[in-house]
Symmetry: C2
Subunit: 214 residues, 2 copies
């Protein structure tokens, strides 16, 4: 397809597409003559991914280029390629390991992974930004004087594992390896707000069931 | 307790506590003489809540005052008081209802609530910021050409309802009505990052189980 059709099918203006081409976020089309290039379905898919990261995810252009570099690197395993977007999203600052709450939270998180049997990706998990966020959040709760049984976190973790199984089952409905990886990257950016919204609505519904409202 | 002890037990500096007092985020202590006031456990609890909203949640001072106004308003039902923080968090812009994807997403969300039987809080749910986020996110996915069976969203929603049951069970372990409401408000701000982190870690673990990594 020509540039105009690519623009129509993606809903992205031709000026923006040209900008993405210049920035290397989109591979050049097949040059037919000096003024015309031909694009294919792969361009369209990639364009949607770039658009979603920038517009919905608010990911800066330089970061998008970095994520795509990982997505396209066949030498990396699928687990790492699929997680690429995760590492590119806003980072949590390194927790202060001198802080007693942070240290205790780190130990709690370790015990949690152990108890859950999440050992397959352990070396990946413990260096991931999500793990850092978990530790920082547990520490924040504890510092506020909140207490809970580890069993509660286990229950949440098991629910989230069920969600992860749904995520990956959905990813696997897509044909090619490239589509699988791209769907996983998109999922990180787009599925999260959906899950979060459903959680809030479920809280309101459950609360209304228990206490009524008004 | 005196100001100094309130500061030590909360980990908040006396200067910051004085600032919160001036801004009306914290009720004045019981004046013992012209220079000394006495604070109690309720002050400590409230101080922790304010601290969490500002430091962990990044909620602006004026918004904190607004949330506390709802938290303290006994004339509101518990469901609404508990949801107060939700409404104070960054708002999603009003979706463009002229947009065909937004319209279709709105219909899909309606059908979803119907199918789930989330009808108790319906009038509250459909005006809530979370509902707006749900519609906008579904529309973004659809616009990108992604398709899924409604059954998938139903499955996610059921998991999130299980999470909401855990949330409210935890809230109910707290004694007074005020503590229950405050715990719910804190949960909105602090529990979300924990759930999100667990979800990401579960994805990495499940992915490593299926595809290995490296």
């Amino acid at each position: 397809m020509r540039l105009r059709e690519l623009s129509e099918r993606s809903g992205v203006s031709t000026a923006t597409i040209k900008y993405y081409l210049r920035e290397g976020l989109l591979a050049p089309g097949r040059q037919i003559n000096t003024t015309t290039a031909e694009y294919d379905e792969e361009h369209l898919r990639r364009l949607r991914l770039v658009r979603a990261m920038i517009q919905v995810g608010g990911v800066p252009v330089a970061k998008v280029r970095e994520v795509l570099g990982h997505v396209d690197d066949d030498s990396l395993g699928r687990t790492i390629r699929m997680g690429a977007a995760l590492w590119a999203l806003p980072q949590v600052p390194e927790p202060d390991t001198e802080d007693e709450y942070v240290r205790a939270a780190g130990e709690e998180a370790e015990r949690l992974l152990e108890a859950l049997g999440w050992t397959n990706a352990r070396s990946l998990i413990t260096i991931s930004p999500a793990y850092r966020r978990l530790v920082v959040s547990i520490a924040a709760f504890r510092r506020l004087g909140y207490d809970w049984e580890t069993e509660l976190l286990m229950s949440y973790a098991r629910l989230m594992h069920e969600a992860a199984v749904l995520d990956l089952d959905f990813v696997e409905t897509h044909g090619s390896e490239a589509e699988k990886v791209e769907t996983a990257v998109l999922g990180v950016i787009l599925a999260q707000p959906i899950l979060q919204a459903l959680h809030r609505l479920a809280q309101e519904e459950e609360s209304a069931r228990r206490y009524g409202f008004g």
